[in-house]
Symmetry: C2
């Protein structure tokens, strides 16, 4: 690859940048204004969810967007703080420090830095495929359970009480315990905000459309609904002096440029945060790339997974160095960006300028914003992530996928986000191995008058008592190597007249070293028992591998090109040494 | 299953017991005498390797053998302490207590008890397939590295010096450091014993055969060679008073019946020992079942994996309750048992009586046995486990299997046995996923004049610019779901004239929930881009699954029985709406 091509693939902006048109610029600017309006309150809310001061949410929404604009391959992905990653940040940081301490903030910054490094390392080592470990049902279960957990964690803000707890049972117990301390004003504001936001989400768009607006602007106005809730609640607090009546407000947000921050380089802290940072990286990457791919496909654009690792890693490091916490591509805001007409990643850069403006000049506006309203925006946002239908669908389609999903949900709610996702991943692997460790094996016979061979249990086919034909419908590898040994051993033990075993391999795409040893062991054992072992219809690449190995020191049989040929040859062989016997084709 | 059948399957002795003949009894007794002679010094040696007093090795060789005789399905497996499990026991117990303390012995007993429970739980939950997680190269690498580690750990006894360290570099450093303290008498005894035992192993049998013995008795006499080394060295110590000259001896071994022991039930100790107990169970099970299967196949007998879990679990618990440490079926002694003509598991019970006799009456004989000679028997035994050829073979056959093997060896030697095997297992899973996450996908075209379709890159076949035929040679599941999306997306993006995509599925044995969602996403995205998505040659069970799901809400194409039919129909479809175009079959 020439230097020019390398640079272009590392900095996609070099490809689309020179051709940037005025129309694109206008579209990008419009999208940026709309996303900024949506992102400012979200940034404050997700910082609160992560247990961090509100301005840190804003910091995480500035520099990371610029870095993504330079390195990202998606034209419309909008990065920044997202709900699930904020929750994971809170869970990890609270393991090493108390909320409200400088150590807690340092932990969050360090998490962002580590997560960025992990993503970059994955890019360098081409480890993007690790995201495949997260099966869809596990991700779906994880997001649903996280949504429930996040919503439950925000109820204390709606009630205006204090409550701790990082699992659903603990949260509910603490809420029940503190219920008598509910602040009536806070509750009123919180419940109204939740109700209003749900109403906006469901009904405002149809209403606007009926009022004559076109669907797209109607949709965008509806997406800006939270702004109305925020404005109204701030007015209510100021005019009624609610902050003096126990309604907790956001308070002073320090205005100014994001600071230059340095993560901790304490080795023991890194070691403690490493599992969480790895999971944050993986979950963030999966969420981001799913969104990016869905949006890119709509416009027939391409996403490069490896380059996305670079862009997201760079964004997270940028977040850390500017005092922010882990970020990734968010679903809701990317869709808004796309719908608002964003054409290039510059829309993200413009958004960054918008958020910077808000950070410099608009923070005083949010001083009197009730925390209950931020909690309401979080609750409404995350409950849209909860997908019970997916659970039912998975249950109907595949019990083993459902088991992994159910375990993920139960552990996220009952133990914690990390335990949940790790158990889900482990269980989906174990179940996959369990499934492939007992592949479909059929005893086959010849369909009369043809060269085809079919399962003897389903078809009226011809077999020979001296020949056993087995077809295995799976690649042979360590998880099913022992099963293959057992199956052949059992079949042979049950057939005293047997002289030949032919394993039919048209569905065997690979044979690993474990399966190779098993085949050698089978060949040796059958030889010791006076039975010849043959293969048929072995695929080219598999055959090449066998030739490279010491397989033929053990295997003394024949490898037949077609199973039909195998049966013809072996029948003659049996007939030749038993000329008077009745060994013929029998049903 | 009737109660009778259930009992018979739980207690295999009920099946062969009633038909037990005098001939079988004689054969079993002869085998038992030979195995006892071999097992007594081995038991002392492996107890030393595990850091335990010598009598504990004897205890572990009595009751467990009786329990295995009742429950085991192998006729010839000989259970007891084995080298690798002893090493793992030492590694785990020394994490929680110091060698020589009562806590250390309790830890070893608790490990045996937990490992027994884990094996029984695996039997109840039918989790025997978990042993499949250990691929052959990982096991082979683990055993080779353990052999080297064990041999290195015994060098201090040969030199007569003190040395600690649980990794190869540490051991070598400590040995080098303590070298000037070498005891000349000890070294002489140790080196002679090692040389003699190697000579016996290699040359005694051919010598005896040349002297007129038949191969089998010659082999058995050669196997008893260690006894000569033991006898001679004891004589040397007594006659030359070497124990007064710095040669360390085994010392007094308390005689008597095995005690009734109780494991610790301290929850925190259990939690600390749990990973080690799980690994000991898994490794012990794999080693044992491999030996049992190999021997059973030679006589066309059957091993039931699940019942083996019961028998080995019971044996380990029996070991714990009689003051022993974890046991499993050993390779060397089972082969001796088999070669000596053992017919039924009663041979094991007779061996137990033999060992009990030794424990009651013969322990004074071993008082003056030099530890260097025990170390020599260990070194010679474990070095036969070291298999460098397997490493080379694996390297030639499969680079990814080799990677898992090399990582296992490096970590066992450099970090520890547990880290080694866990890394090996994790790496073989990751590499397997990596391999299957990029399955073979071919663009196919029609072989002229036939109904067959082949890879366009290898054959001169007919294709149509409006139709893309893809064949995927792997089941679709979470690890390759994203790859499938990417591949189709890329192929479509590169073909602007495309109207139909047909995915040919004859090698797709299963579609999990993740792959199902990917297929739905593909269908949706292609529809949005104006391309129709079809499937062909879908297998029966896969089709049943699709029908059970909501797949057909997304998929609006056709599922063709044969790919030939698909192409016929789609060509007509294209021709009908483009009557004047040049879309025909082109090469």
């Amino acid at each position: 690859m020439s230097l020019n091509l390398r640079l272009r693939s590392l900095l996609p902006i070099l490809t689309w940048g020179p051709a940037y048109t005025r129309t694109e610029a206008v579209n990008d600017l419009v999208a940026a204004v709309i996303v900024t309006i949506m992102l400012v309150p979200q940034s404050l809310a997700y910082a609160m969810l992560a247990g961090l001061p509100p301005q840190i949410g804003l910091y995480a929404s500035i520099l990371p967007l610029v870095v993504y604009a330079l390195f990202g391959t998606s034209r419309t992905l909008a990065v920044g703080p997202v709900a699930v990653i904020s929750l994971m940040t809170a869970a990890a940081a609270s393991q090493v420090a108390s909320v409200g301490t400088p150590q807690y903030i340092t932990a969050a910054i360090t998490l962002a830095f580590m997560s960025g490094l992990i993503l970059l390392a994955m890019a360098v080592l081409r480890l993007g495929f690790l995201a495949n470990f997260l099966s869809h049902p596990v991700i779906s279960g994880f997001i649903t359970a996280s949504g429930i957990l996040i919503a439950a964690s925000q109820l204390k803000h709606i009630l205006g009480i204090k409550a701790e707890g990082d699992t659903l049972p603990k949260m509910l117990a603490e809420l029940a315990h503190g219920l008598q301390g509910t602040n009536a004003y806070t509750l009123m504001i919180g419940v109204s905000a939740v109700a209003f936001l749900f109403w906006v989400r469901k009904n405002l768009k149809p209403l606007l459309v009926r009022a004559g607006l076109k669907p797209r602007p109607a949709d965008l106005i509806a997406k800006a609904g939270p702004l109305a809730a925020i404005g109204l609640s701030i007015l209510a607090v100021i005019m009624l002096g609610l902050d003096g009546k126990g309604v907790r407000i956001v308070g002073d947000i320090p205005a100014g440029f994001p600071p230059f921050a340095v993560p901790s380089f304490d080795a023991s802290l890194w070691l403690q945060l490493l599992p969480a940072a790895a999971l944050i990286s993986l979950v963030g990457f999966v969420e981001s790339i799913s969104v990016a791919q869905t949006l890119a496909a709509k416009r027939r654009q391409r996403i490069t997974a490896n380059q996305e690792l670079v862009a997201l890693g760079g964004s997270s490091i940028a977040s850390a160095l500017s005092g922010g916490f882990p970020v990734t591509g968010g679903f809701a805001r990317s869709v808004v960006n796309f719908d608002a007409g964003a054409q290039t990643p510059l829309a993200g850069a413009y958004t960054a300028i918008g958020i910077l403006g808000a950070t410099l000049f608009l923070t005083p506006l949010f001083t009197y914003l009730p925390q209950a309203v931020l909690a309401a925006t979080i609750i409404v946002a995350v409950l849209s992530l909860v997908d019970f239908k997916a659970i039912k669908r998975t249950f109907i389609y595949s019990k083993s996928d459902f088991a992994a999903m159910a375990a993920t949900i139960a552990l996220v709610l009952g133990v914690g986000v990390e335990a949940g996702i790790m158990t889900g991943v482990a269980l989906s692997l174990v179940l996959f191995l369990w499934r492939t460790s007992t592949p479909h094996v059929a005893v086959v016979g010849q369909v009369p008058g043809t060269e085809h061979f079919r399962n003897v249990e389903r078809h009226a086919v011809l077999t020979d008592p001296g020949i056993l034909s087995l077809r295995i419908d799976e690649s042979l590898y360590f998880a099913n190597a022992r099963f293959l040994e057992d199956t052949i051993h059992e079949a042979v033990a049950a057939r005293p007249k047997l002289e030949h075993v032919v394993l039919m391999c048209p569905a065997v795409n690979a044979i690993d070293a474990s399966a190779l040893e098993s085949l050698e062991a089978i060949a040796d054992r059958l030889a010791a028992a006076g039975v010849q072992f043959h293969l048929s219809e072995v695929k080219g690449p598999v055959m090449d591998g066998l030739k490279r190995s010491d397989f033929f020191e053990h295997f003394k049989g024949t490898i037949f090109l077609s199973h039909f040929e195998a049966i013809q040859v072996l029948k003659q062989k049996i007939a030749s040494h038993q000329p008077a016997s009745g060994h013929g084709a029998t049903t």
